[in-house]
């Protein structure tokens, strides 16, 4: 076993596992108190940042508007938004702490090198509540790496944390594959005074998903890199860490069925749903497409589709609403008739024709307005379409096949108020902390709120990073 130490030979004060937003924030924060901080990134430099590469905004409390978020978003409103998705917050105390702490996140990010841009066009309704960082998630990762490097954080790429070494209740080292140990199969031993696990969920581990989803998991597409296999999470469970979050909890959205199995990111996402009807492989509608504003509902559609036969669904719309949403990267199927679109998508043409005719007949005339809940609805239809319902009658017609795109899983480790990993015995590890997706199950249950993953990562990266540094410097 090779031992990998800082140049002075002493153990690292803080080793951060994972180079996404939470890990970078934890490392930068830890470095304020601790002098020897190491960040382990599993990917090579050009793919660094994990799921954070695919993010674009952060949802934070702000009591007044500014040039990037043109209106107030007070604590109570974010809290209510959080309570309204899925089964609401998992642990009210930790969730409320996250929302409260979010108020200081934008300034913290700015101070640490993040630049902003106005809300992106085509992202309806997100402008007031969410701040968009310039260039998106990879630019954010690049900026944080610059800040970390300037602060003296050491970063090692191509290192996979495989486990932790313990003496009693205290972690003494991180065991890693990659780097100097190369392909020898031998693990490197990185001595550490404190450890922050910010290694994400297990969404890219299809076998693990299959435990809770059965063979449906084979039809899930994973929006982030294939390296998010939950290796560290499994190691923590084996060491006695207490679980948090629902086994089937995840953030998932509707994405193009033609997307790559892994790492397709934002460009494969489909925003056509509220302006369309969605049918399953039998040509039947199954959920209210116009239930709520899209940022509050986009995250239920991955789950909706996961529940349909074959984990596939089809969105169908017409020329009236084309260009009201981001254009799909592979392009939609297009035909002069609805049955033509059905044929292109391989659907039963009679079933689609009947579903569209029934829907069209049920549409109540109203004043269509994509920018708000416009009350354009159906009457006597099951399930109803509550907003943005217009007859699908203007050629050309469009359609696209969709699958669940899993962003990240919620099942993780339980933490204390300062981010320490709790154990099944009721206590907590002395010097092991968690931040980001790996502990998101403490806050999220089943639903998701756009931009809140970054909020969790930043708030808990700061919390865990600071606590780990304190633990290392004055144990």
């Amino acid at each position: 076993m090779s031992t990998q130490l800082p140049p002075d030979g002493a153990p690292w004060d803080v080793v951060v596992i994972g180079g996404g937003n939470a890990g970078l924030v934890a490392a930068i924060t830890a470095r304020e108190k601790a002098s020897r901080v190491l960040l382990l990134e599993r990917a090579p430099a050009e793919l660094r940042g994990g799921n954070t590469r695919h993010t674009r905004n952060v949802r934070c409390v702000h009591d007044s508007g500014d040039q990037y978020t043109p209106g107030a978003y007070p604590y109570d409103e974010l809290w209510q938004d959080l309570c309204a998705v899925g089964d609401g917050p998992a642990d009210e105390e930790l969730a409320s702490f996250t929302v409260r702490e979010s108020a200081s996140v934008p300034v913290w990010m700015t101070v640490h090198g993040i630049r902003w841009q106005p809300p992106l066009t085509g992202t309806l309704h997100l402008g007031r509540t969410n701040r968009f960082f310039l260039g998106g998630g990879k630019a954010l990762v690049n900026s944080y790496h610059r800040t970390a490097a300037a602060a003296g954080v050491t970063v090692w790429y191509d290192r996979t944390a495989e486990g932790l070494e313990f003496t009693g209740n205290r972690c003494t080292a991180v065991l890693v594959a990659g780097g100097d140990s190369g392909d020898s199969g031998e693990l490197g031993r990185i001595a550490a005074r404190a450890v922050v696990c910010a290694s994400g969920g297990f969404e890219a581990n299809i076998d693990w998903l299959r435990r809770y989803w059965g063979s449906a998991a084979d039809n899930f597409l994973i929006r982030g890199p294939a390296t998010n296999d939950g290796r560290m999470l499994a190691a923590l469970y084996a060491l006695g860490a207490a679980p948090a979050g629902q086994e089937r909890g995840f953030h998932s959205v509707a994405i193009d069925a033609r997307s790559p199995r892994f790492d397709g990111g934002i460009a494969t996402r489909l925003d056509c749903i509220p302006f369309s009807i969605v049918v399953n492989s039998r040509g039947e509608r199954f959920y209210d497409e116009g239930e709520e504003l899209w940022p509050k509902r986009y995250a239920i559609w991955g789950r909706n589709i996961a529940g349909q036969p074959g984990q596939i669904a089809y969105s169908i719309w017409d020329a009236k609403v084309n260009h009201l949403f981001l254009p799909p990267m592979y392009g939609p199927a297009r035909a002069g008739t609805v049955t033509g679109v059905a044929a292109e998508l391989g659907l039963d043409q009679d079933a689609i024709a009947a579903t569209v005719a029934t829907y069209n007949k049920a549409v109540v005339a109203g004043s269509f307005d994509p920018s708000r809940l416009d009350g354009c609805r159906t009457d006597g239809l099951t399930p109803p379409k509550s907003n943005w319902a217009q007859p699908i009658d203007t050629p050309p017609f469009y359609g696209i096949a969709m699958r669940p795109g899993i962003t990240f899983t919620y099942l993780g480790v339980r933490v204390t108020a300062d981010g320490r990993v709790r154990t099944v015995e009721g206590g907590a590890f002395r010097n092991v902390f968690a931040a980001g997706e790996i502990m998101s199950g403490n806050i999220l249950s089943s639903g998701y709120l756009g931009g809140f993953g970054l909020t969790i990562g930043t708030v808990w990266g700061r919390t865990a990073g600071a606590a780990a540094a304190r633990e290392a410097v004055e144990p």
């Binding site: 066009t121 310039l134 998106g136 998630g137 934002i266 460009a267 494969t268 254009p327």
Partner: protein, 361 residues
């Protein structure tokens, strides 16, 4: 490479960009892309010239290689620029490629200067006067002919470009507001600011070096033009023939402009080399990259030889040095429309179209 290739690849990449939009805050390309329902070859050309090559979209791109989407928009758009720069050159009546036309134009200009220099000569002009090498009327002819040729070819190319990217009609060129905004954005290199993030050039670290050095070149060029105009005014209106004293407008403008060109070109050449050796994969079309070197080298020769004439104007070297400078100027006049110099015109036209399309967010 067949003509369709750079367009097909740019279209593939831009379609992914339009489904992502993370780069919207960097420059004008991304908002402009989002205004297009379906991209035509003309639209892609427009976007390619709207791109000022800051490369921020590359470093910010999670789909850049080794990702399987393999996005490299700076390279894809510069490949389109390479092909369209050549495409919009006027067809010559004799079979000659771009290089043939360029060589012929340069040779003709140099020969004209030589012949006129030999026939007319410069007898009678005072020491330190450029007219000791070639008399004023002959110099006017020797520069005027290639310059006129250049202007005709550039206008021809620009007209073809405008028609391809805008369709028939004057479009934004008839809008004073669009012209004013385009001029301001060109003068400030707004699209090299990266929305406040500066350029990712050379390499991945943000830097304002490229924009600043480009300002030195562009404004140095303007100062050199001002020096020539000031000299013309002094000679033809104030009746004060050259040589001019060190504290005169022609000399001051010339020195400041020349210095700007030397520093700017030398600096950008160094940045170019750094980018070429460090950027894997390359973020620029290789042919356009060579033309970038060529333009900088040519401007450097002009500036250095121009400054040298001032330094040696009271020595025996003045004649030969001035002759080299004049030959360089005449040749550059003649070949400008075949070089990367055209980026000035195409980028400006792209900015004009962009500003005539601007709509409230």
């Amino acid at each position: 490479m067949p003509f369709a290739v750079p367009f097909a690849e740019a279209d593939r990449q831009l379609t992914i960009c339009n489904a992502c939009r993370y780069c919207e805050g960097y420059c004008a390309v991304f908002p402009a892309l989002e205004w297009q329902a379906d991209l035509t070859a003309g639209d892609i050309t427009h976007l390619a010239d709207l791109c000022h090559d800051c490369r921020d979209c590359y470093t910010a791109c999670m789909y850049a290689p080794p990702h399987e989407f393999a996005l490299n928009l700076p390279a894809a758009l510069s490949a389109v620029r390479h092909h369209t720069y050549d495409e919009y050159l006027p067809r010559l009546p004799w079979p000659a490629g771009r290089r043939g036309a360029m060589l012929a134009a340069a040779l003709a200009a140099v020969l004209l200067l030589a012949v006129l220099g030999v026939i007319v000569g410069g007898a009678g002009a005072p020491a330190g006067s450029p007219y000791r090498v070639i008399a004023y009327p002959a110099l006017l002819v020797a520069f005027g002919l290639p310059a006129a040729w250049s202007v005709i070819v550039m206008a021809w190319s620009a007209a073809r470009y405008w028609r391809a990217t805008n369709g028939p009609g004057w479009g934004g060129l008839a809008s004073p507001a669009a012209l004013t905004r385009a001029l301001r954005q060109a003068a400030t290199l707004r699209n090299l600011r990266g929305g406040g993030a500066d350029c990712s050039y050379p390499g991945d670290e943000p830097s304002g070096a490229r924009r600043r050095l480009h300002h030195l070149i562009a404004w140095g060029f303007v100062a050199c033009a001002a020096s020539t105009v000031a000299a013309a005014i002094s000679q033809d209106f104030a009746g004060d023939p050259p040589p001019y004293p060190a504290a005169s407008a022609p000399v001051l403008f010339g020195v400041i402009g020349g210095a700007g060109l030397v520093i700017g070109c030398a600096g950008l050449l160094v940045l170019r080399r750094t980018a070429a050796s460090g950027d894997t994969p390359a973020r620029e079309d290789p042919t356009l990259a060579r033309r970038g070197y060529a333009l900088l080298a040519a401007l450097l020769v002009l500036a250095v030889s121009g400054l040298l004439t001032l330094v040696v104007r009271n020595t025996a070297a003045f004649g030969p040095v001035l002759y080299v400078h004049l030959v360089a100027v005449a040749a550059c006049f003649a070949i400008a429309p075949y070089t990367k110099f055209m980026h000035v015109i195409y980028r400006f036209l792209a900015l004009v179209r962009h500003n005539s399309e601007l709509r409230p967010r």
